[in-house]
């Protein structure tokens, strides 16, 4: 502790006004804030504050993503970790740049975006493409809206959609073959990219991957979302600690299940199959629950989840796309402000009636 404090005190003058690296002060501030808890005092009542801060809030999401990370390394090799590093480096550069220009702090929210993004990409995505996608996502999806807390869309999904539209072939037709056995692909860097089909694409042409494979995750697909077991484990953690809104998750998965059940002639088996396939679980637990791009009210979150669930099922089953979770969540993001307007107004009316 003392050593860290001394080290920080030693380098601090370099970042001060007049110091050699004064422009990069946000980097110092972010590093210091992450390493050592702040001593900032409360200025007014309430004199004490809850120990939860944004750093911990975000780090809990990262902890919840660890099972998915582990599963993706197991199935698709260490290359996934390299993708995460590329994503952090490129996206982090944009974040720091904007912090410098705004003379503001680097926000911790980026640590989540930077991790979520590579996990929704095919495991064989070229590194430069990871970089381009995350830069676009952070820049257009977040910074242009005014930075953390003001973005309309989930930045990771903005980057993902950009890549899907700009490089459709790389994003939809080249998937890795998942590893198996005790060590899976943990011992190798990358897996052979083949022009194969994901379970959802195969299902469109009539072939159904066994349920167990979907649950375990030994199927082709985006790096972090193939293993339903890992997503459920991390997702349960998020709900348990109260970071993700259980209403959003329940509404999304519930509406999706009901819609799929209806579209598949009332087959519970197919409903379960669709819940475990593709990115619906990952999207519901980790993407739709992003508080900033969700509605603010509880009723709004129920409606938002229903819109996402229904849209995801419709796109998946009735359009030319094999997967629709990404678009469905962005659609939900579009609806969030109007849902807020509706439910905030309703709340205000109820308050008036209460007197």
């Amino acid at each position: 502790m003392k050593i860290v404090r001394d080290l920080l005190d030693r380098v601090e003058p370099l970042f001060r006004e007049g110091g050699r690296f004064r422009l990069f002060r946000p980097i110092y501030a972010a590093g210091a804030a992450i390493l050592l808890s702040p001593l900032d005092r409360t200025r007014a009542a309430p004199h004490v504050r809850d120990p939860l801060d944004v750093k911990r809030y975000m780090s809990l999401v990262i902890i919840a993503l660890l099972p998915c990370m582990a599963a993706s390394v197991y199935f698709f090799g260490l290359r996934v970790l390299a993708m995460v590093l590329v994503s952090y480096a490129a996206g982090g550069a944009v974040e720091v740049l904007f912090a410098i220009v705004r003379k503001d702090d680097v926000n911790e929210g980026f640590l989540v975006t930077g991790l979520l993004f590579p996990l929704v990409l095919p495991p064989s995505t070229p590194f430069w493409m990871v970089a381009v996608g995350v830069v676009f996502g952070v820049l257009v999806g977040k910074e242009l809206f005014g930075g953390t807390g003001r973005n309309l869309f989930n930045p990771a999904l903005v980057g993902r959609v950009f890549l899907a539209l700009a490089y459709p072939r790389a994003m939809s037709s080249s998937w890795g073959i998942p590893g198996s056995g005790l060590f899976g692909h943990v011992t190798q860097f990358s897996v052979d990219a083949v022009s194969g089909a994901t379970p959802l694409a195969a299902a469109k042409s009539g072939g159904l991957v066994p349920l167990w494979d979907l649950f375990f995750g030994s199927v082709s697909g985006s790096a972090g979302e193939t293993s339903a077991a890992a997503v459920l484990l991390g997702g349960a953690f998020l709900l348990l600690v109260g970071v993700a809104s259980w209403r959003t998750v329940a509404a999304t998965l519930g509406a999706f299940a009901v819609m799929t059940f209806a579209l598949h002639g009332g087959s519970p088996m197919m409903t379960l199959w669709h819940l475990l396939a593709g990115g619906i679980l990952f999207g519901a637990f980790f993407m739709a629950t992003d508080p900033v791009s969700s509605p603010l009210t509880k009723a709004g979150r129920w409606s938002y989840g229903i819109i996402i669930g229904v849209a995801a099922a419709l796109i998946r089953n009735l359009t030319g796309y094999v997967e629709g979770v990404m678009f469905a969540i962005l659609l939900g993001n579009v609806f969030a402000p109007i849902l807020d307007e509706i439910f905030v107004t309703a709340r205000v009316r109820r308050l008036r009636e209460e007197g």
Partner: protein
């Protein structure tokens, strides 16, 4: 009732009440939370008797500051205080002034009126006014103010008599007595005592902060609101003060004050009089660390000014909390075995009976709102602090008004739970104050306009009359 939260903070006072050694001198502050005793009624060197008026607050119906003991007045010794020297602590010499006259006048003269407030605004109640209802709360839930249990200290009989007096003050207004819906024996006794009082409605409320707030209770009970109706709120010690004044004609000078908080070695309650030297209370009773003394509770109190030498006449508690002094390496990534949060993000959550040694720090960095919604979850008023924050951030005061910032009761829970460490309480209360001032200015303007119009009309009428005469 909705929202609310009991902060699991260590340092709660024991219910027992201790006496302090009698002080040599009293330092009576001329200002307290609501009151400002600007009109001093005594002279330097004057000998006063117990219960004599030292000063009054001209802005608030001349609510008096009474001499808690007999003594010699020193006016210029300490800035902002009346010092009483050569104290005569023997009770008995009572003020003659309060024994006659109308009930409100007697209560004013005997120092009991200061406990009556307008439930919705928190302002002092108007002695000339008539309430549409009266709320008596036996709860005080903010950590660690002296609540009903300590204030009553077994005086249930006096409470019952006091309630009869309060009822008599506004016979046609319904009287609501708020009691805890706990299983504790005291709660049961309290319910029994209150039920015995004819015409009092018992209202059971969960022991969750801030369900004792008069404005919330008035809303919860659906009491009429409007510019011409007021609801009186009286805390339990106020009822006892009314009882003392009207039954015995005794002035109300003693107070039960909590002295507690994470940085106090033996949190307890003291029976003392206003003006008791703060230094005497603090001496030998604090942990050895930089600490902040708060006049009031942890969530809504104000930092005790170093200039304030004595306990003021509205004080219900002094709370002491340590300042943040130690930085922890990677604190945010630790399991947090000894930490609890409003959501469940620390391992300490599993230890439901654990209380935490909070410090007076933000415990995090100020960040933009991430819309987690915890403030709205915890808000007892049912408003959406995060929505109002967005409006205020964009300078849309009228939108903040539309989303009912006026309903904020200032409990501070939104600021407390905010992971982005946004000072929501200050923002909301500032906006509420500005809007209230605007409204008052508008009303004053409208009244002036109406008066001008009436004058003009009268003049016109006179003129026409005059004209008629000439014709």
């Amino acid at each position: 009732m909705r929202g609310g939260y009991n902060v699991p903070v260590a340092g709660a006072p024991l219910p027992e009440i201790r006496e302090l050694p009698a002080p040599d001198r009293l330092y009576l502050p001329l200002a307290s939370r609501r009151l400002d005793f600007g009109d001093v009624r005594v002279e330097e060197g004057q000998r006063v008797a117990r219960g004599e008026v030292l000063a009054v607050d001209p802005e608030h119906f001349s609510i008096p500051l009474l001499a808690p003991y007999g003594g010699i007045v020193r006016l210029s010794e300490v800035e902002g205080h009346i010092v009483l020297d050569e104290l005569d602590t023997t009770a008995g010499d009572r003020a003659a002034a309060g024994s006659t006259g109308a009930v409100a006048e007697r209560l004013l003269a005997l120092g009991a009126w200061q406990y009556l407030s307008d439930a919705r605004t928190g302002d002092a109640a108007d002695p000339a006014g008539r309430p549409s209802a009266t709320i008596v709360s036996t709860l005080r839930l903010e950590p660690f103010l002296a609540g009903g249990e300590a204030q009553l200290d077994g005086a249930l009989e006096r409470l019952a008599r006091g309630l009869e007096h309060v009822r008599g003050m506004a016979p046609e207004a319904p009287l609501y007595v708020v009691v805890p819906n706990a299983d504790a024996p005291l709660a049961a006794e309290l319910r029994k005592a209150v039920s015995a009082c004819s015409g009092a409605h018992v209202v059971s409320v969960p022991m969750r902060f801030p369900f004792d707030d008069p404005a919330l209770l008035a809303r919860y009970l659906k009491l009429p609101a409007g510019p011409d109706t007021t609801v009186w709120a009286i805390p339990v010690e106020g009822v006892l003060a009314v009882e003392a004044a009207l039954t015995d004609g005794r002035p109300c000078t003693e107070r039960i004050v909590s002295f507690a908080g994470p940085a106090v070695t033996e949190p307890t309650h003291f029976r003392l009089v206003p003006g008791h030297p703060v230094a005497d209370i603090l001496a030998e009773r604090l942990c050895r660390e930089p600490a902040r003394v708060i006049n009031g509770g942890l969530l809504t109190g104000v930092v005790l000014s170093p200039e304030q030498r004595g306990v003021d006449s509205e004080c219900t508690g002094l709370t002491v909390v340590g300042e943040p002094t130690r930085q922890t390496l990677l604190a945010f990534a630790r399991p947090g075995i000894s930490r609890r949060s409003y959501n469940r993000s620390f391992v300490g959550t599993l230890r439901t009976d654990m209380s935490m040694r909070y410090r007076a720090g933000l415990s995090g960095e100020v960040r933009p709102c991430i819309a987690c919604g915890q403030c709205a979850d915890v808000c007892p008023a049912g408003i959406l602090p995060q929505v109002i924050h967005r409006h205020l951030y964009a300078d849309r005061l009228e939108e903040a008004q539309r989303t009912r910032v006026d309903l904020c009761v200032g409990c501070g829970l939104c600021s407390f739970v905010c992971p982005s460490k946004i000072d929501l309480r200050t923002e909301l209360l500032d906006a509420k104050r500005v809007l209230r001032e605007e409204e008052e200015a508008l009303r004053a303007e409208a009244e002036a306009e109406a008066a001008r119009a009436a004058e003009a009309k009268a003049a016109e009428a006179e003129e026409t009359q005059a004209g008629e005469v000439t014709v």
